[in-house]
């Protein structure tokens, strides 16, 4: 746990202590850590193991099972292209392809400057406004491939300011 600073250790300990009344708190602890830091590296899993008594192997198994948990840091902007059926039949593949091409990353990857992560999402439940793209949780309705360049440009400008 050499890489964790004291503040992070204290925060993770506090998160683990939030759920001491729960029988099986692991998912809740991991969700909170993922939300707080954007990823759950091995050092953090070891600390959670120490605090909860759950073996690291089990924690690692859970972290790698669910797509919301990540072992690596994600970008400042997480672009989630919905590839649910309603979006797909309305051309969502062309949108994610365009993001992928313009950012030079594949779905699941993060750009080298740490600015963007591209994710393929399985249905946001926003089928009425397909194709939908979620950027850091905000859903953008009826996106077309032509708008992709403009979206990226705006986010770059926002990040620069």
């Amino acid at each position: 746990m050499a890489h964790l600073n004291d503040a992070a250790k204290a925060k993770i300990t506090e998160i683990c202590e939030r759920y001491t009344d729960e029988k099986t708190p692991l998912m809740m602890i991991l969700s909170d850590i993922q939300r707080e830091y954007g990823y759950i590296p091995l050092e953090v899993q070891e600390l959670v193991s120490e605090k909860t008594g759950i073996p690291v192997a089990e924690i690692y198994g859970v972290v790698t099972f669910y797509s919301f948990f990540s072992l690596k840091p994600k970008g400042k902007y997480i672009i989630g292209c919905c590839l649910g059926t309603a979006c797909y039949v309305k051309g969502a593949q062309a949108i994610i392809d365009r993001f992928s091409e313009l950012l030079s990353i594949r779905p699941g990857e993060t750009t080298e400057d740490g600015l963007f992560t591209l994710d393929a999402l399985r249905c946001l439940g926003a089928c009425g406004i397909a194709p939908a793209v979620s950027i850091n949780g905000k859903v953008h309705p009826k996106v077309t491939p032509d708008q992709v360049q403009e979206i990226i440009k705006k986010l770059r400008e926002e990040a620069a300011n």
Partner: protein, 626 residues
């Protein structure tokens, strides 16, 4: 605090009066509501609502006009919505810049803003009231009760609309009679399989000790969003349904398992639980009856398989979301090894209606084998995309054409996929089928959670089958080999076919693997994984053969089997395609079409990545696919 049946009743009376005054204007005020569902919120309905309020304050109208949010109206493709009471005027596609006009003309001048009304695509008539719009005419709102009518973050409005009357009646008639009422209602689980809810409860009811009720809100079927909408629109109804189920089986704790992808639904549930606890409608000694019940919230973390009930239980227990072998069924050995009843959101949202209104009334809707109503999420190539609740037994034709408004752009209807990745597609010949659990199954599809994706002539059915298989293959948890390996092999074969390398014997192989996967997988995910392939093979075998033998994709979707062409005589040489091509595949030819001055363009097919930007940018229809 509400401590008794009498207190609930008197609270209900005053809340109903307030709600009615809002709808009929007897309080002398105007009431404006904005849709607060995910669809409309993504089109800035919250910001529009706030700006509307601010404008009213500025004009000193805020004591005569109230502004609130309500849950989803269901007609998402026309959002954001704004409705004004008591006139019941519905404005659609409302934008920031429309606020001034609505306030000046309607609020102050009592005149309808015609340009914001819904226009019937057939008659071209403007429609001002929601109930007069075809999309709503055939709908019956049981599970969607309150959605689009009440403020989901205001418990008083929920109580005014009848919340907790169902639980009150359940407690009055007793546990056994409650189970019998639900059994007699004929309610079948709305999550997919259609198992009778009353029987599920009866299995979990015997015996004492810790028991649990779990609400499955892990709505994974891509294209279905009724659970999200119900949780966003009337969370109190689902909590009440859960409390009734808990009372019936003798549980004191209930767990909501909701997808993390639904932040608004999660937040509204949290608010509703807190308000109910404060009001004494959750906690110890509810309504003074001695019944204790608490609701807890758990979030999913992005695994489709957790919609399978035993995988869901593992997930709550902090484990990998892998299914357990059944038996033992959860009703015997579920959460933490205790008897557990897992019910879907829509099922639980229906339960209060059955108890409040009586099972006889519920049974007046529906068919012999499937009573009541069902919510469908109409999506894909359909004019009126949105959420609709209709009686079981409504035909596909009514759903697609009368309610859904038909296929956009004059295109031809090809198929409708029901039941998501576990279901199948239905075609033209099935349009007059009365939809219920059994008829859909008999036609090789299934009800599933109620996703209904319409496809037109531009959709390739082999590509659709591949899309679903990609999804399932990605989401297979990997525990049992028929599913883990079978879905992978089927996806490989489908990929091979869509890339133009398929052989006829691949179709036999697909069917063979499909049958192994179907009969040997541990859970429903694997058992139903091959359904989209089998149903498209049955209905659209000629399309598979076109890909394999003719090396053509009839719908021009599969990239390896299609090309973009520029018609040199239609091309005026404007160069827009050339400027938009991301890979520089478009070049000038030496040819100038008759009547034009600039040389036409052509596509170098060796470089072309088939992104289609040239075609979407061409204003002269000179670019085609073949």
């Amino acid at each position: 605090m509400i401590r008794s049946f009498e207190e609930l009743e008197s609270m209900k009376c005053s809340c109903t009066d307030a709600l009615n005054a809002k709808y009929d204007g007897s309080d002398g005020k105007r009431h404006v509501v904005f849709c607060g569902g995910t669809g409309c919120l993504s089109s800035d309905s919250a910001a529009i609502r706030e700006a509307f309020s601010a404008k009213l304050r500025e004009k000193g109208l805020d004591d005569k006009v109230t502004v609130n949010q309500v849950g989803c109206f269901g007609f998402c493709s026309q959002g954001p919505f704004c409705k004004i009471f008591p006139e019941d005027t519905l404005y659609r596609m409302v934008k920031m810049e429309d606020i001034d006009e609505i306030i000046e003309k309607d609020i102050i001048g009592h005149e309808v803003v015609e340009r914001l009304l819904y226009v019937d695509p057939e008659t071209h008539q403007k429609v001002s009231r929601q109930d007069d719009i075809n999309f709503y005419k055939k709908q019956v709102r049981v599970a969607l009760h309150g959605c689009g009518a009440i403020d989901p973050e205001n418990l008083n409005e929920a109580i005014g609309a009848g919340a907790f009357q169902g639980l009150a009646r359940a407690i009055k008639i007793g546990r056994e009679a409650t189970i019998k009422e639900v059994l007699d209602s004929g309610l079948r689980g709305r999550g997919g399989a259609g198992f009778p809810t009353g029987r599920k409860w009866a299995f979990a009811a015997p015996g004492d000790g810790d028991k649990y009720i779990v609400c499955n809100g892990d709505e994974g079927d891509p294209g279905a969003f009724m659970d999200r909408s119900i949780l966003e629109g009337n969370p109190v109804a689902v909590i009440e349904g859960m409390a009734i189920a808990a009372y019936a089986i003798g549980a004191e704790n209930g767990y909501f398992y909701v997808r993390a992808e639904y932040p608004i639904a999660v937040n509204r549930l949290k608010i509703a639980i807190a308000q109910l606890e404060e009001a004494g409608l959750l906690g110890d000694n509810i309504l003074g009856s001695g019944f204790n019940f608490r609701a807890h919230l758990r979030l999913g973390a992005g695994a489709f398989v957790c919609g399978e009930e035993t995988a869901l239980l593992n997930s709550i227990e902090g484990k990998r979301g892998m299914p357990r072998p059944r038996p033992p069924f959860p009703a015997v050995k579920g959460l933490w090894g205790r008897p557990t009843c897992v019910n879907n959101v829509e099922t639980l949202a229906t339960v209060p209606y059955i108890l409040r209104e009586g099972q006889e009334k519920f049974r007046t809707f529906g068919t012999e084998g499937s009573k009541g109503t069902k919510v469908f999420a109409l999506g894909g190539k359909i004019n009126n995309v949105g959420l609709v609740e209709v009686p079981m037994g409504t035909t596909l034709r009514e759903l697609i054409y009368d309610i859904g408004g038909g296929i956009p752009g004059g295109k031809k209807f090809k198929a409708i996929q029901t039941g998501g990745p576990s279901g199948g597609c239905l075609t033209e010949k099935d349009l007059d089928t009365e939809i219920d659990f059994d008829t859909l199954k008999a036609r090789g599809s299934m009800m599933g959670s109620g996703g209904a994706i319409v496809m037109d002539e531009d959709n390739c059915m082999v590509d659709v089958a591949k899309f679903y298989m990609e999804f399932i293959c990605d989401e297979s948890c990997g525990k049992c080999s028929p599913c883990r390996i079978g879905t992978k092999r089927m996806l490989e074969i489908l990929t091979k076919i869509t890339e133009g390398n398929g052989e006829m014997e691949d179709l036999d192989k697909l069917e063979e693997i499909a049958s192994i996967c179907q009969s040997n997988s541990l859970c429903a995910l694997g058992q139903t994984a091959a359904n989209p392939i089998l149903s498209t093979l049955r209905q659209f075998r000629d399309e598979y053969i076109a890909h394999i033998v003719d090396k053509k994709c009839p719908a021009h979707v599969c990239k390896s089997l299609m090309h973009y062409n520029i018609n040199k005589d239609k091309c005026i040489g404007c160069g827009l395609c050339e400027r938009n091509c991301p890979v520089g595949a478009i070049y000038k030819t030496g040819y100038v079409a008759h009547g034009h001055k600039l040389p036409s363009r052509a596509i170098n097919t060796d470089i072309c990545i088939k992104c289609g930007l040239c075609m979407s940018n061409c204003k002269f229809g000179a670019i085609t696919k073949d």
